[in-house]
């Protein structure tokens, strides 16, 4: 088992009072809690801080921790010979445990019903991050997750065990969404229900489509003559190409809506896809094209800045 210096994690002395420990924790929690922090690695840092506080705030756990001895952080160590008997249960195997599992087990063992007999204990919920491609999110996907979880045997002794879970992700999930997989958390004890597995969904951005709720947005570049005269185009959508009619006189920044081409979500209908028009000039004009544009200039009395002139007149 690897040693962790909980006092150093919280930045307090070994002799710190409960009040000092609490204060140090609160300051760090404010800084690193994933719900409020924008720091990089906030979640990881917060876990370390919370783990240290969980043990040091409880006088019994803190005493048990102090009795482990002092080592360098990360150093392999074994608790003193009688430590298991006094605090964790003689059967505890330390090698496959993390320090946090060990100390969590210390409270787990003491939970009991009103007469001291163990009551039903619901299993803990697990939480895992799942990264999906845009296509997986759009179509739904079957994924396999390898979790490393703590299980307790009948004596209440904790063991770390690998757990593989296969999950079907419904179609239409979006970045930041949370899904629940019932019964795939830790096994309940003494007739308690099994915990659930919560999945925090991350969806990789797509080079073409941007997601907002169930709607998708796509940039649609048009040549000036396509915008002016109208055109029928082939447009990619996640569910396959479609034909799109661009009306004559289309301006830049218009949103052409393709109904029902967004994300479909079971029980929540389907979103739309919006093609946002851009008018793009060809990079290089040859002589003939320049001539044609000059002719267009002569033929047109269009003034795109008429409103500037009105403004200039008013301010005189």
């Amino acid at each position: 088992m690897k040693y962790k210096d909980y006092y150093a994690t919280l930045g307090v002395d070994r002799g710190a009072s409960e009040e000092e420990i609490k204060k140090a924790y609160r300051k760090l929690a404010r800084k690193y809690h994933p719900d409020v922090s924008k720091e990089p690695n906030a979640e990881e840092r917060f876990k370390e801080v919370a783990e240290a506080y969980e043990t040091l705030k409880n006088p019994e756990k803190r005493a048990a921790y102090d009795q482990l001895g002092r080592y360098a952080p990360g150093q392999e160590f074994r608790p003193p010979p009688d430590w298991g008997d006094r605090f964790a249960g003689a059967e505890t195997i330390f090698e496959d445990l993390d320090l946090a599992d060990l100390f969590e087990g210390l409270t787990g063992r003491r939970r009991a019903g009103p007469r001291g007999e163990p009551g039903p204990q619901p299993g803990r919920d697990y939480e895992a991050a799942v990264r999906l491609s845009f296509e997986q999110a759009f179509d739904g996907a079957e994924i396999e997750l390898d979790l490393s979880v703590v299980e307790y045997d009948e004596q209440g002794v904790p063991h770390r065990a690998p757990k593989r879970v296969k999950v079907r992700i419904p179609k239409g999930v979006t970045d930041g969404q949370q899904l629940r997989v019932p019964g795939k958390g830790a096994t309940g004890a003494n007739g308690g229900r099994d915990g659930d597995l919560y999945l925090d969904i991350q969806v990789e951005p797509h080079p073409l489509y941007r997601v907002a709720g169930q709607d998708l947005y796509l940039d649609l570049p048009l040549a000036p003559w396509e915008a002016a005269l109208g055109a029928t185009l082939t447009l990619p959508t996640p569910a396959g190409t479609v034909s799109l009619k661009v009306p004559p006189g289309t301006r830049a920044g218009q949103q052409l809506r393709l109904a029902g081409r967004g994300l479909a979500r079971p029980g929540a209908g389907v979103g739309d896809l919006y093609a946002i028009t851009h008018i793009v000039m060809p990079g290089v004009l040859d002589e003939r094209q320049r001539t044609l544009f000059r002719e267009l200039k002569e033929a047109s009395n269009f003034n795109p800045r008429a409103h500037f002139e009105a403004e200039a007149r008013n301010s005189q």
Binding site: V167, R180, Y198
Partner: protein, 103 residues
Amino acid sequence: MKIEISEAITIEGGEISFAQLVEYSGLSEHELRELIDYGALSPREPVEPWSFDASALRAARIAERLRRDFELDANALSLVLSYVERIEELEAEMRALRAGVAR
């Protein structure tokens, strides 16, 4: 070894009962009642037995985490929850605006 496939369920959409909220959120019945009293969680109808939009589970789980990690009481929790909700609404609006702006 063949692994059975499990269905992942979206938390949004649908309905959740008060009893389920107690069961899944990790908050006690008393704590949930306090959050309802303070207006942090709103049942669909004010009369019991209460039911909620399923998204209440997400709010209740955030509340549970904040209560545990920051040692907040129900009053402070309900205030923080209202901010979290506003931030989420603003983030959704920002995503929609950003997505709708031509690049």
